[in-house]
Symmetry: C2
Subunit: 471 residues, 2 copies
């Protein structure tokens, strides 16, 4: 396993070193252990496995191939990166979904260690062969029985511009299939297999009911990986959601798109977006009370649809926040809430601009209550709806203690009130900034629209990690 | 003088420490000394001074008040920050220029150590009183003899949200005026007085001629300060240009706007833009062969106008590049050239997106030829002119050795050719990345428009400096 150092500061940053490519071993940071579940409630009809391949030669033992399998055809949907350079697996998965109309999906096959991005025609063939080989496990050829071709989505994450060791990967897919299981440990191993620079596996599960038959308990499970390059639209970020509810293909698409907008597309580590980002969902209906239970329709007025939208958004937010918790080098978890904007787009643009500002991010790392930088970021936000979207004399900025803060009882700390700076109690500010969790509240006073964003700070470790990623 | 440390890494980063607020003393880094001129050719009719005030209590001896004076009324123009939160001096200077129609200007008065931004009505009064008190040195009241009010521009740079120690500043303006001189040392002291986190003063001068009377030599001098928060539109960046050519007020405005677009608005340190950014120019005509020499008209077809545009742009580029050389924590100076874009705006957007990418910037710091990150940045550039502005199969990316590179004779290193990765000679890449100066060339192949941008890397020192700026 490669150790990572920034050449020009090699000796100084030794203690910041983080291991790569297959970092999930006993060295999970103590502060992160609390984010790893020790049990879970996983959707019926799904089995999963995490298998060792050795995609990166340096990886000698850690699982780097994840296989998520439904025992019956499932509806599926995905949200893909908007980067112009779309990795081969993104192109293949998009085609699989289009050909099948989001129906009849059986699995998702994922490797870490190599992104299979900017790899030309050969890379596309590699991604297709991963999907085909996964499909073959279900006694289907790529000219599958149902006539729609491969039924497996494919994802890759890692370094750009290198070809996959495709034969190694393909040769392990049968054993990956042989090893699928529905235990918590299987889910955890799978979540580990998709990690790259992540310091801990990100896995969540929950149960829920739907208004139309409240006696039936459904299950929803998800895993994600991220770390660097996380920003809207999206990043070296993979997210996989699975549920045993029955949701029609078009409903799944609109539910996922909306949930991702308010979760995976509302987080920022460094503002960079990657070639591979994909959040996919499979819904296999295995939890329905009967085989004839109607799937949730694509109708926002349906009570089941509305309930599912709320459940999925909230779950995706919790899951995506784990990515921020594990931002490369992050020491802070910050929520920025922009309120009373003229338009929802304005609120979102301002929240994302604050979340991306290197000066805000370094000030938070330094525990410096430098609200001037927050104000600057508000002030230079591009593409707002009108010249009056931000009015200095109506702008309010506050720090809000997190629910877990020791100084929670001291309440909100106002920094700027109607454009005029408050006399800030620096001791109070210092106490707030000692907390890992913090909320920045911006009230624009120019409308009634809100947005939330979650981000982390920029640290020395961020620079160290990203200064020498490829080694 | 405050020493700067990031609290959570205090002991590790000791050797990265940079001094603040009035850092210009004998401790100029050896690598930067070459950028400080030892002589100059300064415009006739201008005298300048750098004076100690102690705007920051911690500053015990370094000049922090700059006064740039023309011995006769000059035409003037300025480009201001587009941040919604405009500092008081920006508002006052804008009004001075508007009231006077860009004519009859006598001076620019500048303090460092406090930005006088987000300081409400009191801050506006402070900025106005600096302009008025400067004006009073020329035996004019703020109801000036010519009836157009104050004739001095005002600038401030430093921390946001704190009031100026205005009486201290005003009380020193008369001695600042008494000390003005036209020597190189006076210009250097003035350039030092505007610095904040800069590690060296940024001063340039040159001579030039105009086509209409080529026997006459004019002079052009400029100073700037920057460091962090530098990006288009613009940053905690001040620029002051002076010339003894005669240039009409409207010509000066259009010439400056165009030059700034290709210089100060084409550099990036961290992508943040501030409340105070101002680049101003004064042209006093003192170098003209006779008092009746016609000023350069606002007419792009005039040979003098065209020559002046070229001279001013090139000079502003050299000056603004010094800001990148002194980017907070910078170890690299990178030019990104985007060629053959569909539109000039596309070329510029892509260049600026690469220049702002934290992942590109940290890879350069780490001397990692991670061209995938450059490609990612190209691929996620927002707001391009069309869906075909970037076509992966037409995209080429290369490293070009700088003129000063030891490996210059090895020529261009191709990384991506028509969307396909090259087999990169990593030793060659490593040699290129050892250089301080580097050019990244992107050929989009979708049109014929070009843009250039200059930026620096993100280092550990950047995080250290910005983690605790206010102390």
């Amino acid at each position: 396993m490669a150790s990572v150092t920034a050449p020009s500061a090699r000796s100084m940053v030794r203690t910041f070193v983080r291991h790569y490519s297959a970092p999930i071993d006993s060295s999970i940071p103590a502060s992160k252990v609390k984010y790893i579940p020790t049990s879970g409630t996983y959707p019926k009809g799904f089995k999963v496995s995490g298998t060792y391949v050795g995609v990166k030669a340096a990886n000698k033992s850690n699982p780097d191939l994840a296989f998520i399998v439904s025992d019956r055809p499932a509806f599926g949907a995905a949200v893909f990166t908007t980067n112009k350079f779309q990795a081969a697996p993104v192109q293949v998965s998009r085609t699989v979904l289009e050909k099948r109309g989001g129906a009849g999906l059986r699995s998702i096959i994922i490797n870490s260690g190599c992104a299979n991005a900017v790899t030309g025609v050969g890379g596309l063939e590699d991604a297709q062969s991963m999907s085909d080989t996964a499909t073959a496990q279900f006694q289907q050829s790529s000219q599958a029985e149902d006539g729609f071709g491969a039924n497996s989505l494919v994802m890759s994450t890692g370094v750009i511009g290198q070809r996959l060791p495709i034969q190694k990967i393909l040769s392990k897919i049968p054993s990956a299939y042989a090893n699928i299981d529905d235990t918590h440990n299987a889910w955890l191993a799978t979540a580990k297999a998709i990690c790259t620079t992540d310091t801990f596996p990100k896995l969540l599960s929950t149960t829920f009911t739907l208004p139309s038959h409240p006696e039936t308990e459904y299950r929803l499970a998800g895993m994600t990986k991220g770390a660097g390059m996380i920003h809207p639209n999206m990043a070296t970020l993979l997210g996989i959601l699975t549920t045993d509810a029955a949701i029609s293909a078009p409903a799944l698409k609109s539910l996922l798109t909306s949930a991702v907008e308010k979760s995976f597309n509302s987080i920022s580590i460094d503002g960079d977006t990657s070639t591979n980002d994909t959040v996919a969902i499979l819904a296999n209906g295995a939890g329905t009370p009967s085989a004839t239970t109607a799937p949730i329709p694509d109708d926002a007025t349906s009570p089941d649809y509305a309930a599912m939208a709320s459940i999925l958004t909230s779950f995706a937010q919790r899951l995506s926040q784990l990515v921020v918790r594990d931002g490369e080098g992050a020491t802070k978890f910050v929520q920025v809430s922009v309120r009373n904007a003229a338009t929802a787009a304005d609120a979102r643009l301002i929240a994302s601009t604050i979340a991306r500002s290197p000066l805000v991010k370094t000030a938070l790392y330094g525990k410096d209550a430098n609200w001037g930088r927050i104000l600057c970021a508000i002030g230079y936000t591009p593409n707002l709806s009108s010249a009056d979207a931000v009015v200095p004399s109506k702008t309010n900025v506050s720090f809000v203690p997190a629910a877990t803060s020791k100084s929670k009882d001291e309440g909100v700390l106002k920094l700027l009130v109607n454009g005029e700076p408050e006399a800030v109690d620096e001791d109070r500010a210092a106490r707030l900034l000692e907390d890992e969790d913090l909320e920045i509240e911006v009230d624009l006073g120019t409308g009634s629209e809100d947005a939330q964003y979650w981000f982390c700070d920029f640290s020395h470790e961020y620079v160290t990690i990203n200064g020498d990623y490829r080694t």
